[in-house]
Subunit: 214 residues, 2 copies
């Protein structure tokens, strides 16, 4: 079966899951940590070469302060957990902003942990506009060069985006890397992650005809 080289993960639905389970909204983010680790291990075992997690965005920081604190903490915890795995880890986002957690500054250059066999990118205080607005205005002659000017230049093209939480949109997730991505949506909320979600996504991806417009 054809395995995607690079999977993008949009782990949505944490607040709705919390409310459904009788908690306040901000209590859902913490329940997304184990799913994130489980998915990482499944990807590694399946031979996926790169995973990019959509942590939080500059847009998300408009949310109520309790939620901002909660998802920021969850992202810091997630990165720390991943740094104990076999990963080449990179945090991508606007680290010059006060919304960027200082604990993650050491991860803004890619570092190898363990055997480092899989690349992991974690988007923290990411913004699609921040990512794109650095593209050089001299005529960039090839698609490869435009990619080099992105703030997210060390994140390669994504083959498959898997979004939990049922919404069918990219929400600003790496507009350049996702131009040709196949997009699989899981209706369940992220904290209700199951390995079958991943396997179903892979099965579906294996049946897609990848044409890149040709």
């Amino acid at each position: 079966m054809r395995i995607p080289k690079h999977i993008g993960v949009i782990p949505d639905g944490n607040r709705r899951w919390a409310v459904n389970n009788g908690m306040t909204k901000e209590m859902g983010y913490d329940k997304g940590l184990d799913p994130g680790l489980e998915l990482f291990r499944l990807c590694k075992d399946a031979g996926v070469k790169e995973i990019t997690y959509y942590g939080f965005t500059t847009d998300n920081t408009k949310r109520p302060k309790m939620q901002v604190m909660a998802f920021t903490k969850a992202c810091v915890d997630a990165v720390n957990m991943l740094s104990k795995e076999d990963a080449q880890l990179l945090v991508v986002g606007n680290s010059e902003s006060p919304m960027f957690p200082k604990e993650l500054l050491p991860y803004t250059e890619r570092r190898k942990f363990g055997s480092g066999q899989i690349k992991v990118n974690f988007l923290v205080n990411y913004g699609w506009h921040w990512d794109l607005n650095n593209v050089n205005n001299e005529k960039v002659s090839s698609k490869g060069e435009l990619h080099n000017y992105l703030k997210s230049s060390d994140v390669s093209r994504i083959d498959l985006v898997i979004r939990w939480g049922g919404r069918r949109r990219l929400s600003g997730f790496l507009p350049v890397q996702t131009v040709y991505s196949d997009f699989y949506v899981v209706d369940d909320y992220w904290p209700d992650f199951k390995p079958d979600h991943f396997y179903d996504a892979l099965k579906w991806y294996g049946k897609q005809d990848i044409t890149l417009g040709g």
Copy 2:
């Protein structure tokens, strides 16, 4: 019911439809003309303010010559048909390339036809890379300004993308304008268009919770 202000249309599946109906691949594009007009009229009647059709891309021009000629002709015909409707019509694409049909050069500035009550954008020889590589490298301070530097700057943000032909990907369709778009996929091929596809997409859209990341 909440109506999307701007709908993006990806009319895919023409070649598969042709083969399914015992024709050669390039014969499907011509069968996409009436659907395009019918959809235009449904959008206008529903109060949609802007429609953007994904005609053909620079990637598509790598296809066999018979197909390139056929889809190019279909796009020229489609634009001519739309110019007889009440539309403010604009063709967006790399018009400096030999792949751009000269017949459409007069449409590369927006013109009003009839009562011009709805904006229609038609992408011809469009490329996401061509669109983005002009973004100024001086720090663009607001999202609005980055939009102004796009080659597609006169195409506004898209609320709902409807893609026919079953594929779940954007295929390079206006990466900036689609960052927050809800994405509805119709499994039927474009030449098998039915008004119900449109009504179902609107009903679905009306149930989505538009958060723009907040």
